[in-house]
């Protein structure tokens, strides 16, 4: 059975409630043997994850600097190409670190109910997605395939945050599917009630999400019961991604079948 999770529909909302329903009160859970309010537990997790991701990037930057230093000391004739490549890695690392910090600040804003200030400008979803796919294709054995109906699909979106959303969808597909399996990414323009929308779909053949977990899957830090004990994923991504999409007038829809795979569909209004 395929389960659909879509906040924009009346009958199958991802939080299991009709639109406009109040959010259920958070439940206190055990953390290190103590009852901890859910909000505090989530905040603790956010901090832990932020620290983990940032320290990993710092590790890359420090390690690459050490490798360059080693090369300069050990090589009789240091190779400029090697040094330049290392410096490029450091620059990329600092950019990733900056993006991580911005992402976590956005999540903190969303969690506290503050609006995110978007920098909307004409953005080509096709070019942006192609760049993300090419970057991920360099570091995964998954077969990433991008299909588009054209080379340009432009809307007034915040490019930095949209890139973060697309990266999140791709990294989830990679994370939750076995190596060397196919991940299909499609981009199209489709009609909608309020005008045409840009549609991005990311479809994997991964572990999928059990039906019982779907009502919670867009909650911060929530992970499916079939991966919660196995993964280092934190679950903040979908929560943050959907918030960024919705605040730009779009929707993020999830369809999943446990053991078969997951499709995430992003819809964003196009510039008039």
């Amino acid at each position: 059975m395929t389960i659909t999770s879509d906040r924009s529909t009346d009958t199958h909302t991802d939080d299991g409630l009709p639109p406009g329903s109040p959010v259920p009160a958070p439940i206190a859970r055990k953390q290190h043997g103590h009852d901890v309010p859910e909000a505090v537990r989530q905040q603790n997790m956010l901090i832990a994850v932020a620290a983990h991701d940032m320290k990993n990037q710092l590790g890359v930057i420090r390690g690459t600097a050490q490798l360059i230093e080693r090369h300069m000391r050990r090589a009789q004739a240091p190779e400029p190409e090697r040094i330049l490549s290392g410096l490029a890695t450091i620059q990329t690392g600092t950019r990733k670190l900056q993006r991580l910090m911005e992402a976590f600040m956005d999540v903190a804003r969303v969690q506290s109910g503050e609006p995110v200030e978007f920098n909307r400008r004409p953005t080509n979803l096709v070019a942006l997605t192609r760049g993300c796919v090419q970057e991920y294709a360099q570091t995964t054995s998954h077969e990433l395939t991008l299909s588009t109906t054209g080379e340009s699909l432009i809307g007034l979106w915040d490019a930095t945050r949209l890139e973060r959303v697309v990266e999140n969808l791709l990294s989830n597909a990679i994370k939750y599917s076995a190596p060397a399996t196919a991940i299909q990414i499609t981009i199209a323009q489709e009609p909608a009630d309020a005008g045409d929308v840009a549609v991005l779909r990311v479809e994997d053949q991964g572990v999928g999400i059990p039906a019982a977990d779907l009502p919670h899957i867009f909650q911060p830090f929530y992970r499916g019961s079939n991966v919660a004990q196995q993964t280092s994923g934190t679950g903040i991504g979908l929560f943050g991604a959907r918030a960024l999409v919705e605040q730009q007038g779009g929707t993020l829809r999830l369809e999943s079948t446990a053991g078969v795979g997951t499709t995430l569909t992003l819809r964003l209004p196009l510039a008039g």
Partner: protein, 147 residues
């Protein structure tokens, strides 16, 4: 499919979810005379996938990252250690505090968190490999050290 690097030094498995960090560690270890094989720890499969990787390549040691959620990650490592006893683990982590709370009193290990010094990883690998050379058949002596 991960392929071990060429060379004649001891084979070291690099197990970390960050591809960028894996590349840095591989470069460093290969410069220091080790061969490497990497698993960018995909979470699908948990201990089972990690054990399959270790049994396929039979490395002398693994540089293993314990990641959030630390308790679950630590439990997976314990399961892997229980079933794969032929090698040694050098553990890296971004949260020494959480990992310390997972470590039992019988495992008095020093925990130093990321971002680590690459030379320290090499020193630690050389130390455990010199102290306890890997066996051909698994015996109950795999070493655990954390950086």
């Amino acid at each position: 499919m991960p392929v071990p690097s060429a060379g004649s030094g001891p084979l070291i498995a690099v197990m970390n979810s960050s591809r960028d960090l894996v590349n840095v560690l591989k470069d460093s270890l290969e410069q220091d005379g080790f061969r490497t094989v990497a698993l960018v720890s995909t979470i699908v499969g948990g201990a089972t996938a990690q054990l399959a990787f270790l049994r396929e390549h039979e490395p002398a040691a693994a540089v293993y990252s314990v990641e959030p959620p630390y308790r679950e990650s630590w439990d997976i490592l314990q399961e892997v250690r229980r079933q794969w006893r032929d090698g040694h683990f050098v553990i890296t982590t971004t949260n020494t505090g959480s990992l310390r709370s997972c470590v039992g009193p019988a495992e008095a290990i020093e925990l130093i968190g990321k971002p680590f010094d690459l030379d320290e990883i090499t020193r630690e690998l050389r130390r455990v490999l010199a102290a306890r050379p890997p066996t051909l058949n698994g015996t109950a002596h795999n070493a655990l050290t954390a950086i």
